[in-house]
């Protein structure tokens, strides 16, 4: 019981910290950062677009690790971790696509185009939406967890393709501004913009870990209810 209370307490601290960073991030992104020389104010969408996709990548990396651990050790907690990270990752991937679409309309003139990076990101979303559907379609919990773990591992392999797509194919999407091999971020982005981006990234990370810890607690509690009910029947 004390362990649960301790988890809840640290969750609240994480949530409060995330809220502070979110407010600071909004201030820096919408007020403090200068407008882009070419795109003007619409470029401010970048301060949520990049943190969203990086958070989604991190989430699917956690799915990958949780899935590998589950296939190796068959422990429920690894499956709960992978399942929780997949759900939060799907949210952040869907948000990335929506933000990108809204940013695309005034800059490219279209809401959507079958560009390599956009298409691969949509495929990533489909894979992990499929991962979640698979779990609800297979009744046997262990079989569902094993099948989902395999999908989770394969799905993660789409991420390097997404990142490298702007180098490998001719795309409408610009090359990375931050994670690029030839230039450091501060050589490529205005310092005020970089600060706004860093604060928003920190806000998304804190929010992500808060949502993930909450989702894991939900998963653990639901698992316990299921186990106890089965125990009661037996």
């Amino acid at each position: 019981m004390a362990k649960i209370e301790k988890k809840r307490g640290s969750g609240k601290i994480l949530g409060a910290l995330a809220l502070v960073f979110i407010l600071a991030g909004l201030y820096f992104a919408l007020i403090e950062a200068p407008p882009d020389a070419n795109q003007g104010d619409v470029q401010r969408i970048m301060y949520i677009h990049i943190p969203s996709i990086l958070t989604a990548y991190l989430s699917f990396f956690i799915v990958f690790v949780g899935s590998c651990l589950y296939l190796w050790k068959r422990e429920r907690r690894d499956d709960i971790l992978a399942r929780s990270a997949a759900e939060v990752g799907v949210l952040f991937t869907a948000l990335t696509i929506v933000e990108g679409s809204i940013w695309g309309k005034p800059t490219w003139g279209v809401w959507w185009t079958w560009d390599a990076r956009l298409t691969l990101t949509a495929i990533l979303l489909m894979i992990f939406a499929g991962y979640m559907m698979l779990r609800s379609l297979i009744e046997d919990e262990d079989r569902a967890a094993v099948s989902a773990a395999v999908v989770g591992i394969i799905g993660f392999l789409d991420i390097p393709l997404i990142h490298m797509s702007v180098y490998w194919w001719r795309t409408l999407h610009q090359p990375p501004s931050i994670l690029r091999p030839d230039k450091a971020p501060w050589e490529n982005v205005h310092p005020a913009m970089l600060i706004a981006l860093a604060i928003n990234f920190a806000a998304f990370l804190l929010l992500y870990f808060y949502l993930l810890s909450l989702r894991i607690r939900v998963g653990e509690t639901e698992e316990r209810v299921k186990r106890e009910m089965l125990g009661g029947i037996a």
């Binding site: 909004l26 619409v42 969408i45 949520i48 677009h49 949502l211 509690t221 316990r224 209810v225 125990g231």
Partner: protein, 49 residues
């Protein structure tokens, strides 16, 4: 729509969706905890930690 319109639309959708997911998780948590408490009170859980 002006450029700020696109910015507010993007930020609005993002924070609304995240808030919606957060409240959805909170509601699921409350339901699961209530179910667990119900099981405890009806004596189905003998060795509650």
């Amino acid at each position: 729509m002006g450029k700020w319109g696109f910015v507010f639309l993007a930020y609005g959708i993002v924070w609304l969706a995240i808030a919606g997911y957060f409240f959805c998780l909170k509601s699921r948590m409350r339901k699961a905890e209530a179910r667990l408490a119900q099981l405890k009170s009806t004596g189905k859980i003998k060795h509650a930690s």
